[in-house]
Symmetry: C2
Subunit: 419 residues, 2 copies
């Protein structure tokens, strides 16, 4: 088999473990020198391919690549940029072929979520529709856990562990303070359309009366009166109330509780501020003193508290992507399969990208309790294995050590291309 | 020496390591059985003493007490309640004597910050002014690091480590996203009057251009134009801007940027929401897409990321408090002394409570750079030792294990007392 080069890039919101997938891809490529020559990373996702903005990963030491496994964020830069349709924007695809030809790239690895899977699927058409011999593999990643087919999405388990841990820790704090001070604590978590991350907060406690006392899911229309009754009941029974609220919490008519009014490049509305909104309602309706926190990027960057299971899975899908590519499996995605629940066992299978792109996996209704305020045992059984194990990064001078890459740019061979 | 009982209680905002001090006090008491009989914990601070609401710590196993060392929050309940003056509220002091007499309490350990030190100092007057043989010792604790005399306050080092780590992690996230999405990230941290915690964010990076690019200190009057210039410059130079802002950020005239309008029992205004306020200003003035996070209780409850130095110091001041009490040193507080900077060495000395109560230690001006936006090397040299070392708690089922106490109440012997 002749040797050709590989392209790897990161897309969409990053996670605590997307670089662990990068590590898996790059290490697997390095172990297949007969088939794969150089690995080029796209600077800022697909934009790097379009603009011939390539990073020469070959120049990074094995140690630096290994350090990616414990480095949060996207080491090569990510992007929120969606490739347009091949029929209407053929020039973009022809440009990709130019760049890939110029650098002898025949393996394409795209690391992202649902929107990015769409981009990868589009790129995979280069071979079928335009005759360029490229194998495109999508490497799954999203804290939102909303990718279909795969049992869970790499990146989610670590956020889940962070949110469950933070909820438990903050609950101990407010439990200490509630006699004479704060009665309500509201933690806002990510999850625009699906309540997976909010549900993870439910792992913090496991007995009656244990926090969180209320989870506000995007799946359950927000009913102010019912929520207030629940809060009041919890304060009366437990002395305090801990609430985990999804940024995607919304009313029956679909209006978000907090809507910052901006939209991102994918057309999604930028959310944020539901915690203070909800805390304000509670103050207004019930008069309780409150504290609130918005974890935002902290939750998806918290590599210091990553789930070992998540790190291993992120790395494994990276490696498996290379296996699939070398087997010529175009337009596929490695996916996690849950073989058994207890003991938890998993392996990596593959899924056709056409069944992944632009699909969102929602929480099953039976993961949420009948009253809509808690998770069920079924949900707990699903979530719990994903947060198992710790994989602390090395620390230096009191802080997590992160990969320091050279990020040497590949010399451009083509004219400038404007997006 | 005759055997008498001890009282221990927690007061004010709790920390990730206040229970490590509790552990130190209780273990040291258990090791002095000739002098100290039972340890009673006040339920909810001084209120527990006034209302005879006592927890029988004797019933807790050694293992449970050892587990306090890695459990955040205040295990016995804290309070924001300030003892009134002895001359105007003599009845409260007489009640304390009644309770202490009824339970043979002659050692009083109060674990808190500046406001609580005032309460402890007042209690210490029982012996001088009312002739009850009590030795009152204050055990220092505050995330705000604003206690005088002690080189640093137990509780601060762990928040500092959490904020520095979170800033570093979130910075890697936004650095990945900035090419096509978020340009500005704002992290709001605690610290009402002093910028110690905000300063700790400055440890995240250590080279030119490294985040955070801007720290908004309460000590430096907020100048919107200067801040916007700094933000714009950072985005132009680095592609993004990471900001750590203190909840106490204020204008020249003392008005807080974000003022929730509520006051706590000590008369402090409840703050919160400066991150979204500042982010909104940036959007308005510069048009940058932003994300913001408010760490709130997460930062001071994050025992999972505690500084080993902090845990050791919190434990040490707890033990030293017992040593001071047994030596009859009324109205004293153990304090941390920095013996040398590099290598960092410290020991525990003692300070008269009269010099501690109601005093706030502010950041020296030379800890803040001339432009007011960063920390200096002097500040870095001071802060760095405090975040050294990790002391991860044991994990069980993917989550930090916390102490489970019986919290058995001591039988009441006295009539009800209304606060």
């Amino acid at each position: 088999m002749a040797q050709h080069n590989a392209f790897y890039a990161q897309s969409g919101g990053v996670t605590a473990v997307i670089n662990a997938s990068a590590c898996g891809v790059i290490e697997a490529c390095r172990q297949a020198p007969d088939q794969i020559g150089k690995v080029y990373a796209g600077h800022n996702g697909i934009i790097g391919a379009l603009t011939e903005d390539l990073i020469d990963v070959t120049q990074e030491s094995d140690d630096a690549i290994a350090a990616l496994r414990h480095t949060p964020g996207g080491a090569f830069g990510s992007c929120r940029y969606k490739l347009k349709d091949i029929d209407t924007h053929r020039a973009q695809y022809e440009r990709l072929i130019e760049v890939f030809k110029a650098h002898d790239i025949r393996y394409f690895f795209y690391n992202g979520g649902g929107d990015s899977a769409d981009t990868c699927l589009k790129v995979s058409q280069l071979s079928e529709k335009l005759g360029y011999p490229l194998t495109a593999i999508h490497v799954p990643k999203t804290v939102d856990n909303d990718l279909p087919i795969t049992d869970n999405s790499p990146g989610f388990g670590s956020v889940a562990k962070y949110i469950a841990t933070s909820t438990r820790e903050a609950s101990l704090d407010i439990a200490s303070m509630c006699a004479t001070s704060t009665k309500v604590f509201v933690l806002e978590v990510m999850g625009r359309h699906a309540g997976w991350i909010a549900a993870a907060g439910g792992l913090a406690g496991d007995g009656p009366g244990e926090p969180p006392h209320l989870i506000v899911f995007p799946e359950i229309p927000f009913n102010r009166q019912a929520v207030m009754e629940r809060v009041q009941q919890s304060v009366q029974q437990n002395g305090y109330c801990v609430i985990v609220v999804s940024e995607g919490a919304r009313y029956e008519d679909g209006t978000f509780l907090a809507d910052a009014g901006n939209t991102d490049a994918f057309g999604h509305r930028q959310l944020g501020g539901v915690a203070p909104t909800l805390a304000g309602m509670i103050k207004q309706d019930l008069g309780y003193k409150y504290h609130w926190a918005v974890a935002d990027y902290l939750q998806r960057a918290a590599r210091h508290l990553a789930s070992k299971t998540d790190v291993e899975q992120a790395y494994a899908v990276g490696r498996e992507a290379v296996t699939l590519a070398l087997a010529g499996k175009n337009a596929m995605m490695p996916a996690i399969r849950r073989i058994s629940q207890a003991p938890y066992q998993w392996d990596v299978i593959s899924a056709p990208l056409s069944q992944v792109a632009n699909q969102e996996k929602f929480m099953p209704r039976d993961f949420i309790s009948e009253n809509g305020f808690a998770i069920t045992q079924t949900c707990r059984d699903y979530l719990s294995p994903l947060i198992q194990g710790e994989d602390f990064p090395p620390f230096e001078n009191g802080l997590p050590k992160v990969a320091k890459l050279k990020l040497a740019k590949v010399e451009r061979k083509l004219p400038v291309f404007t997006l």
